[in-house]
Symmetry: C2
Subunit: 277 residues, 2 copies
């Protein structure tokens, strides 16, 4: 999906919502757990309930790999279903990062074998771990800048060299040399809104993938205030807050309600910012 | 596998060799490519030819994920075969790193679902991305310190804060606070032997996983000089140099020869260092 297509979908759905499919068998309603393929059935139901509200879906690889080859088939099935809808960005939240020949294999796994539009990538191993995900029109590398977790404080904010930059700023600067805003996004966590403002200042045109709203404590209004640009420019993720919004027969209707509440807040902010024209 | 068991195997096999199973279908001999499960058949043949010489096997996840659910079954089959031999450390070269609840799922995927002994972990997201891999007796987290690729220069050597440390040193210091040398190893690439000396000085007791000998240009004699400790203390990986040492009918015999050459050099160094008693 190209940048222009993504922006058109944001305007049409009046939303920046990314739904995170961190689907866990033991948290599913009983009527799904008794099915032959409970995870994919639940994913399909969540997608059906939210696809008019969400511009992106993010599949967290860990939750599928924990189920082995069956989990991989759930991934394939879910991506194929999303692809058939044709109007959402499909993200592999994989946080891969390895030497060039291995990074190329990961790009093959996620872009060719599985047909994702985007992959999250970890920067510690440097440029040759990122470039194999670039240079494919319509495909995206989403590089970790500032994450939403407590451990983000361990290294990402360290002043580097003479203290002019912090590590995440160096990562953003160096990474932006590798590709433009039509193929590169940054992860910027919602749990530190003042940092989101700095990330936006460094990358005014890039899309930001923003995890951490909801269960992790990030505040949507603050995220919208700090991160919006004139294209929208963000994909704001909610996983557990949607997937597990209600129990048993309430799970799917409550998921839709949770997504609607997020979308409405996003729409107001998008209008105020002039994104919707 | 515990640290004591690993050291006993090193002494018995007189080797530090880790064979990297970065197996690619299009590089296999014709007689394997025509089989129903060519990758697992080749892995089994390589393991049969080298298991008396290798103390560890490292499966690079990217090469399996690029083959989808079938690749995952190749992983399962190869790990099960290695487990049946009972005398080698089985490493998932996955370089995972994510927030706590996701890292726990990756630990479940690699330690429980797939029965690996060890997983490589990327440090950018900090402590809560590493701790879920610790605290399981006989299981190991292998954390990236200095990698063997060109991109290692982008961030790993940046002086942090007042310049007292470089980033990889901070990573090692902080990570060593999370677990001891019975559950934690570090990745230290073979392509910068002077750095390997510094890594060894910082972590005298930890095992180091050393990639980059062979195709990537690292020199085995230098690695042995800089990295050995009184337990051996290293797992020195060769992937392409063994897997693709010969073509067609020569592939397996040449793989064994390549492994033998590495093991012989290792044995000489282990004797000289007094590891073999």
């Amino acid at each position: 999906m190209t940048r222009e297509e993504l922006i058109a979908i944001i305007k049409r759905k009046r939303s920046l919502l990314c739904v995170g499919l961190d689907t866990e068998l033991h948290l599913l309603p009983e009527r799904f757990r008794s099915l032959h393929d409970p995870v994919r059935a639940y994913n399909h139901a969540i997608i059906q309930a939210t696809s008019h509200l969400a511009v992106a879906y993010k599949l967290n690889l860990a939750f599928y790999e924990a189920n082995g080859a069956a989990g991989w088939r759930d991934l394939e099935s879910t991506v194929a279903y999303l692809r058939s809808l044709g109007d959402c960005l499909i993200i592999a939240d994989a946080k891969r990062g390895d030497i060039g020949n291995t990074a190329r294999k990961y790009a093959e796994a996620f872009f060719d074998q599985l047909d994702f539009d985007a992959v999250t990538v970890a920067p510690y191993m440097g440029s040759d771990s990122i470039t194999p995900f670039l240079g494919r029109p319509g495909k995206w590398a989403i590089v970790l800048a500032v994450t939403s977790n407590e451990g983000a404080l361990d290294y990402q904010f360290l002043p580097v060299e003479d203290g002019r930059q912090r590590l995440f700023e160096r990562v953003m600067e160096r990474t932006a040399e590798l590709g433009g805003p039509e193929e590169l996004m940054f992860v910027a966590g919602a749990t530190r809104p003042e940092i989101l403002r700095q990330v936006r200042a460094m990358a005014p045109e890039h899309f930001l993938l923003v995890p951490g709203v909801g269960t992790q404590g990030g505040d949507l209004a603050e995220v919208l205030r700090e991160g919006l640009n004139t294209d929208g420019g963000m994909l704001i993720n909610s996983s557990r807050g949607i997937l597990y919004a209600g129990k048993e027969d309430e799970a799917i209707p409550m998921a839709r309600k949770a997504a609607e509440a997020l979308q409405r807040t996003m729409e107001v902010a998008l209008r105020a910012r002039g994104v919707l024209g």
